[in-house]
């Protein structure tokens, strides 16, 4: 193995070849990712732990079906997505909701000659570091509030950084549907954070 961070494709090849250490590296790398996805999809820690374990077990059982090592991540997430789906079918049925674009748009107001947006003051928000646990709670709530079809897209695209095409493959939808849902999901998260920031007086 080369020095530095091993890529997914290298890890996939080592895993398929039964290289020593590949199993542990895979579990260390992918278990937290799978758990994060299943947690935000299932909403309960215990369910998420169980679904993550089921996913990993399926991954190893089906390892022979991994045809393209370069697409291992998407392949793994497809198994995770199916495991979440099976879990959900056993629980209460949640109808699919659609998000309307109009409702995600900000309102404008006129102030003298100026047109202003009715949104929170985002400029005071730190760029990346120093995102406190309070803000993470707000973000979690915003993600959990999303209807499932939007939540799965934003988790795969923006958290796991899969491509549009890979996300489409994982979720069995077209690339255009991925784009539409991603945009609405992002607007909805923005709007939900915005509301929470304004409710907190702009100081999260």
């Amino acid at each position: 193995m080369a020095i530095g961070v091993q890529t997914d494709v290298g890890l996939a090849r080592d895993l398929l070849a039964g290289e020593p250490g590949a199993f542990d590296r895979f579990v260390e790398t992918f278990r937290p990712k799978i758990f994060q996805y299943t947690y935000l999809m299932c909403g309960h820690r215990e369910d998420a732990e169980e679904v993550a374990q089921e996913t990993l077990l399926k991954v190893f059982e089906k390892l022979d079906q991994l045809r393209e090592p370069q697409h291992m991540k998407a392949w793994v997430f497809r198994i995770a997505r199916n495991a979440c789906y099976m879990k959900r079918r056993k629980s209460a049925y949640a109808p699919t909701q659609e998000l309307s674009l109009d409702e995600l748009m900000p309102a404008f107001r006129q102030e003298g000659n100026e047109r202003k947006l009715e949104i929170a003051d985002w400029s005071s928000l730190p760029d990346d570091q120093a995102i406190n646990s309070q803000f993470k709670k707000l973000l979690r709530r915003s993600i959990e509030e999303l209807p499932e079809i939007y939540r799965s897209v934003v988790l795969l695209r923006d958290m796991e950084e899969l491509s549009t095409l890979e996300t489409a493959e994982v979720l069995d939808i077209t690339g255009d549907t991925v784009k539409t849902r991603l945009h609405r999901a992002r607007l909805a998260i923005r709007q939900s954070l915005d509301k929470q920031m304004r409710a907190n007086g702009g100081d999260s």
């Binding site: 278990r31 077990l57 404008f108 047109r115 949104i119 990346d128 991603l182 945009h183 998260i189 954070l193």
Partner: protein
């Protein structure tokens, strides 16, 4: 600027930020945004919100993997590798 123009732009913002639009549409959007403070503000809020999602990709950690759970996984892995080797032999 008309509100309808801003709203048209808001509808395309994800594709714009993901660089999935053609150059000429991007240029149109750039030139609108440059002269429109509400759009600047909205784009900024959306970008920050997206950035937050990215930076929280491991906000929850699973409980440590128990020995029994690891054994189950390892057994499944070993079996798959052996079967694969047999098939290739």
């Amino acid at each position: 600027m008309k509100v309808s123009e801003c709203k048209q732009i808001f509808e395309m913002l994800s594709e714009y930020l993901d660089k999935e639009l053609s150059d000429d549409i991007c240029q149109d959007i750039d030139s609108h945004i440059a002269g429109c403070p509400p759009c600047v503000e909205f784009v900024e809020s959306l970008k920050k919100s997206m950035h937050l999602c990215r930076s929280c990709k491991s906000m929850d950690e699973p409980a440590p993997l128990g020995a029994a759970a690891r054994d189950d996984l390892y057994a499944a892995y070993k079996k798959a590798v052996e079967e694969r080797k047999k098939a290739q032999a």
